[in-house]
């Protein structure tokens, strides 16, 4: 138990901050994912064949390629790409992006592909009549989206989004390969310096279980809230 003590003698506080880091990366990645979903869901639903193709390419490629490969692409290719863009604007210094940003961006793009599929499914399962009714009532396009489509879509999407959240949370363990100190990386460091990998990796597993368990509790509450009246 002294291995988990807070302060200089144990790894308690380090692991606590690492857990917060995992949460921070997951939330950031999820939000970046929503942003991507916001762009690609309309493309996937669009009637234009070309836009449709772009949307399908995004979800197919990202969901068909291992997460680790995407992370390596961002980790090794990220700063190169930024430096290339910067060189166009006449900035030639070396730019290093921090691991948090590359990590959450990589996980965010992956999570976005799953969110896109969820939103597409949710919008498609809204009754056609709802769209027609709001059109007949002369409601403007953006108000129709916020007041008619969005509330119904969220209700249908929340159960599946909770799966996306779980996937995202578990995917963040992969960013440990880039050196960002989240649960996995901290356990790796602790296991290395105490030569007790069994304890620390098992403890990491417990932390992840705790995170998934608590977030499920929270999401269930949200689900109840959004399905009022059904």
């Amino acid at each position: 138990m002294e291995l988990l003590a807070f302060g200089k003698t144990g790894w308690g506080d380090e692991l606590f901050y690492a857990t917060l880091m995992t949460l921070a990366v997951s939330v950031t990645a999820m939000l970046i994912g929503f942003f991507f979903a916001l762009i690609f869901t309309p493309l996937k639903l669009s009637k234009n064949k070309f836009l449709n193709l772009i949307g399908n390419c995004y979800t197919t490629v990202i969901r068909g390629v291992p997460e680790l490969l995407v992370i390596y692409l961002f980790f090794f290719g990220g700063s190169g790409a930024i430096m290339y863009v910067a060189s166009i604007f006449g900035y030639f210094e070396y730019i290093e992006i921090n691991a948090f940003i590359t990590g959450s961006f990589a996980i965010g793009i992956i999570s976005g592909a799953y969110s896109t599929e969820v939103f597409r499914g949710a919008i498609q399962s809204i009754d056609r009549g709802q769209f027609e009714a709001s059109k007949v009532l002369g409601i403007k396009k953006h108000i129709q989206f916020y007041k008619v489509v969005l509330p119904q879509m969220l209700r249908l999407a929340i159960p599946n989004l909770s799966n996306v959240w779980q996937i995202t949370l578990k995917d963040t363990s992969l960013i440990s390969v880039t050196g960002l100190v989240e649960i996995m990386r901290q356990s790796y460091i602790a296991a290395g310096s105490t030569r007790d990998p069994l304890f620390f990796y098992s403890f990491a597993a417990v932390l992840y279980l705790l995170l998934t368990y608590l977030s499920m509790k929270f999401i269930n509450k949200l689900e109840v809230k959004y399905s009022r009246g059904y």
Binding site: G64, L68, L69, L73, F76, A205
Partner: protein
């Protein structure tokens, strides 16, 4: 880009070996735990539920690390025959993958078994067919058909999961891709080649499952 292709292709072989071995063992584990989940004894039932909850609630990376780095720490294990298997990263990866996919497979199979209409089983019983034969000839074929779409997704998830073998020094497709990226600093080209190989495999799995679904539909 072209130079890296043969190396990546030979690494694909290791990925495929890992995938097929873990799916093979995972299917047995999944079937076993699905049957345990449907057991009426609450202790057995809870045990099976706990197994699938733990393996589905933690990242695959943690599971591999516990098995590869963690189990070697137990002195007792080092002296048994098991150590011959557990000191190899290849087998550790397969054990972790099989246990992980086993947990998901057990959930898929369980829900497939539960969606079988009770009428089918009752019909079998009223015809005087023994419970064993009802299970093998009625429940299993229907469950296979029911679980095909979900199991196809699981195969694709597992295919992507095998990439984690590269974290325990195995040179699978992702491992070799990373090695080439870190020596040549051409991340995008290597990503395109390795990614296409993965996509091609995903596509093959997807179309095979679609074909089987059509074949087994009733």
């Amino acid at each position: 880009m072209i130079n890296s292709f043969p190396k990546l292709l030979s690494a694909t072989l290791i990925t495929l070996k890992l995938l097929s071995a873990s799916l093979f063992f995972g299917l047995f584990i999944g079937l076993l735990f699905a049957i345990l989940r449907m057991n009426k004894n609450p202790i057995i039932n809870k045990f099976a539920y706990g197994y699938s909850y733990v393996f589905r609630g933690t990242p695959l990376l943690v599971q591999i690390f516990i098995i590869y780095f963690g189990l070697g720490q137990i002195e007792y294990l080092r002296s048994t025959m098991l150590w011959v298997i557990l000191k190899e990263p290849y087998w550790c990866a397969i054990i972790a993958f099989a246990l992980n996919t086993g947990a998901y497979t057990s959930e898929i199979l369980r829900s497939a078994f539960q969606t079988i209409k009770p009428g089918f089983i009752e019909a079998g019983k009223s015809l005087g067919i023994s419970n064993k034969i009802i299970f093998y000839k009625i429940q299993i074929p229907i469950a296979i058909r029911q679980s095909l779409p979900a199991y196809g997704n699981e195969i694709i998830l597992m295919l992507k999961g095998t990439s984690l073998a590269s974290t325990v020094t195995l040179m699978d497709l992702t491992g070799v891709a990373k090695y080439i990226i870190s020596t040549t600093f051409k991340p995008i080209e290597v990503f395109i080649v390795a990614g296409s190989i993965y996509l091609f495999m995903t596509f093959l799995v997807h179309s095979t499952i679609k074909y089987l679904e059509r074949k087994f539909s009733y």
